[in-house]
Point group: C2
Amino acid sequence: MKYSILGLTISALMLSGIAFETASAAERSSGHPGTPESEMRYKGAPVPIDPSKAQESVNSAAPPVSAAEFVRAKKIYFERCAGCHGVLRKGATGKPLTPDITLKRGTAFLKTLINYGSPGGMPNWGTSGDLTEADIDLMARFLQHEPPVPPEYGMKEMEASWKLHVPVNKRPKKQMNNLDLSNLFAVTLRDAGKIALIDGKTKEIVQIIDSGYAVHISRTSYSGRYLFTIGRDAKVTLIDMWMKTPTTVAEIKLGMEARSVETSKYKGYEDKYAIAGTYWPPQFVIMDGNTLKPRKIVATRGMTVDTQEYHPEPRVAAIVASHEHPEFVVNVKETGQVLMVNYKDIKNLKVTTIGAARYLHDGGWDSTKRYFMVAANKSNKIAVIDSKEDKLVKLVDVGKIPHPGRGANFVDPKYGPVWATGHLGDDTIALIGTDPKRHKSNAWKVVRSIKGQGGGNLFIKTHPKSSNLWVDTALNPSEAISQSVAVYDIKNLDKGFEVLPIGKWSGLGEGAKRVVQPEYNKAGTEVWFSVWSSTKDESAIVVVDDKTRKLVKVIKDKRLVTPTGKFNVYNTQHDVY
Amino acid sequence: MKYSILGLTISALMLSGIAFETASAAERSSGHPGTPESEMRYKGAPVPIDPSKAQESVNSAAPPVSAAEFVRAKKIYFERCAGCHGVLRKGATGKPLTPDITLKRGTAFLKTLINYGSPGGMPNWGTSGDLTEADIDLMARFLQHEPPVPPEYGMKEMEASWKLHVPVNKRPKKQMNNLDLSNLFAVTLRDAGKIALIDGKTKEIVQIIDSGYAVHISRTSYSGRYLFTIGRDAKVTLIDMWMKTPTTVAEIKLGMEARSVETSKYKGYEDKYAIAGTYWPPQFVIMDGNTLKPRKIVATRGMTVDTQEYHPEPRVAAIVASHEHPEFVVNVKETGQVLMVNYKDIKNLKVTTIGAARYLHDGGWDSTKRYFMVAANKSNKIAVIDSKEDKLVKLVDVGKIPHPGRGANFVDPKYGPVWATGHLGDDTIALIGTDPKRHKSNAWKVVRSIKGQGGGNLFIKTHPKSSNLWVDTALNPSEAISQSVAVYDIKNLDKGFEVLPIGKWSGLGEGAKRVVQPEYNKAGTEVWFSVWSSTKDESAIVVVDDKTRKLVKVIKDKRLVTPTGKFNVYNTQHDVY
């Protein structure tokens, strides 16, 4: 039996290289075939990388590929393979596919693997009907040649793409609308290439605004005035929420694929800079915070933290702004290095490279906002970064493929302050002690591992004013589990969890839908969930009362196309989680 | 008429990408054909990069090259072309030669260029008889394919090459010989792959020690006990001068081509770390100072300072140790960035990237050792780096292709403290004011430009106890000029210079010989010059009395094969220049 939800583009969330791995882990335990990230990403959707721009090359020892075949093979590779194997084929979630390896395997072996897939997670591209026999033969030959390298993207290209729609002096001096800005939700409408601004009180859509493709995150500036979005296609938009209607005042394209954007938050630098990290090219860019004018590009290509070997494609995962220094915390996936990028003087840029573990993904602050907790998802570890001292505190062993989102901070009745993460690869939630002063013996250890509904967790959430801990299981292969959430009483964790059937409450009826990403309103009294269906089907946002755990409202609207990430302005602005 | 000194391997000095440019500059003014650096480098000498290891690839749009032809073309490219055009063909001293450019030119154009050369400095490989018609045809086709990429070289390769001949606990606790260590000269015997230790008083050769090929520099540790050498083949040796006879106690190979080595000098870190920078791969390595055990590798690949575009091959030029912080000053050639590498905590490595100008080469401290003056030879500028504040102070416009070596510090009677550099591309010496406190209006400006014998200057030198300024003109096309030096009275610069016929004093008779690199003894009373002949001919070192400017001694010995750089232990240890 195939996933009923095969058509879903799950990797819109902060999941690159993850969904596939999880699906295959789930597959091994359940017998369900996995849904490869690369397929989900690109099916029927624009391709972020333009494959025709990749410079082709031929290895004379490999079986021949004609010029016309190269064009087709590059396109297939970018659409089906790059998400897991990397554009340079050095391997990430998938295995490396460089000619030194593929030439030894040979055409026949490669054809079989592409056709039938593998228990290790390689999809069955042939028997699934996705690739023809001719295409499989082509790909088997193509993979024995050098990986085509996509073009670089430097200051010239960025400046050419930069559009300042409304200069700073044409913008209002105060808020010109009556919106309750701090309780707005910016909701990614993944496949529409837009975001929706939804009022937190009325639950009405205030506005739909064009964005990049599949906005990965929306971030609020320190002042709360500006909203930044970043698409998977590396397009950043800057929305001025003070204008009569919130308006995109600037935009820029920073490369071919991206995930992360953040704004400066340190005293004296509020709203001054923005930073964005790209997957390709592997680099980050510091921009002016109120215009997106690009100022400084820094490559992340360098050495892996453990073996100290050169990696040509270290992609930028999560970026957060430090509260201890005028710094950005830039997490580099493939090298496992955390870069503390000091923006005090960008002409003489100071960067502290903290060795953590591979592959860094996302994470969040502890409750004091001194320690950044970041998942190293191939190492099954959480790296604890001290943003005050700019050094690694500890690598904490957790469960299989931690995926915290920002994680959840609360006070464990027995162990004191903890930060929690769920996992993609198992059904546990790890609680890590975060108070080295008053709970020293618990600090930077898993003090408690609690059981959830199952694997496939993406996001976990609580709020300082709540005593609930919400845990989704969006990527679980069981429909019953992926369409519901677990909620725990953090004052009585031993009691276990209650299951809320969010999917059922949405009233969307039969069909593929995943319940994903709990997000609080500003007051911490309501929790919003995305019920995310395929592009063809209706989606919804379900709002739950935090105290009573009862349904408050189902938000449905034909404009709500594939809603995924929801970002409450106040909580995003103040790193509340 | 061809250079009579065509066989000389001039680029043994710190000249990569320079000698060629100079020769061609000289050529334009004198009508002499130039001697390309790449030819000089490799003629009859081991090739530092193993071309067979470069991964070949084929561009299907380019004219075909057979597998056997690829092997030959790669070898020719590394031997003849890489020195100027870079292994990735992005261009440096020579023009870029990537397929996007070469394909447009086409085979016929490329053949003509390779055969006849160009007034811009491209050698006439065909009409000179160096390449056959068949080879020229091959190279014209080969250049339209992707540049073969040499292999990476990471921790695994470094550790495998590391040899600790004498562990620390087997070494003496005090000096076990009677040598006057501080007045020894470490002399590179370029083509022998050795160094000579010569006593500064007796002028006798104390010992000949194996080293890497064409040792680029020798550096003394802070304590004066250890001597580091680095070969062009990226082999570093560590010599313990306290042993009964100075002995190589450790060695390591760090890549395929290199130029720079330095040791930590900041209080509390004396002799603790060594650092070396490589040309390929483009990176630097921090090692334990007493064993050469590699600890941390950092890639230099990144963005150019001006256009902010990605450069895949930013080679590491000069490295010096800061006296203001526990930092190394790492000058990156192709990006024009100066990296202040803080070695206080190499697991959480802090690096300040100071944007300067392209292409950084070498330089020296001002007299206070706070400001580092580094040549940007393609920009005709000296970048002034404040090592206390870790920032760029100024880019000072100087003459054509500044080549300071370490430069020369003295007090100009009119303008106060200055640091001086000569130039490869013109006959001037630029004096830059370096005292922002008491001579503020002169600081970081060329206060005086004095005329020398001619272009082709490599090194300029004075000493705190001397009132002479010595200027060689080793790369001048005129034999009379390249075989003599100019000396100025720094108390009366307007008087002009006296010419000393060092080549004639050497008594080596007819034949190719260049007079290069004045180096003081510890006391500052004598100046040593290399008289550098071809491998076939006898060379010598000529010692001159600084006060009287008269010949003291000619050091000749059949073991003195192609002596080039000479490094007085004390002056190197204390950055005296």
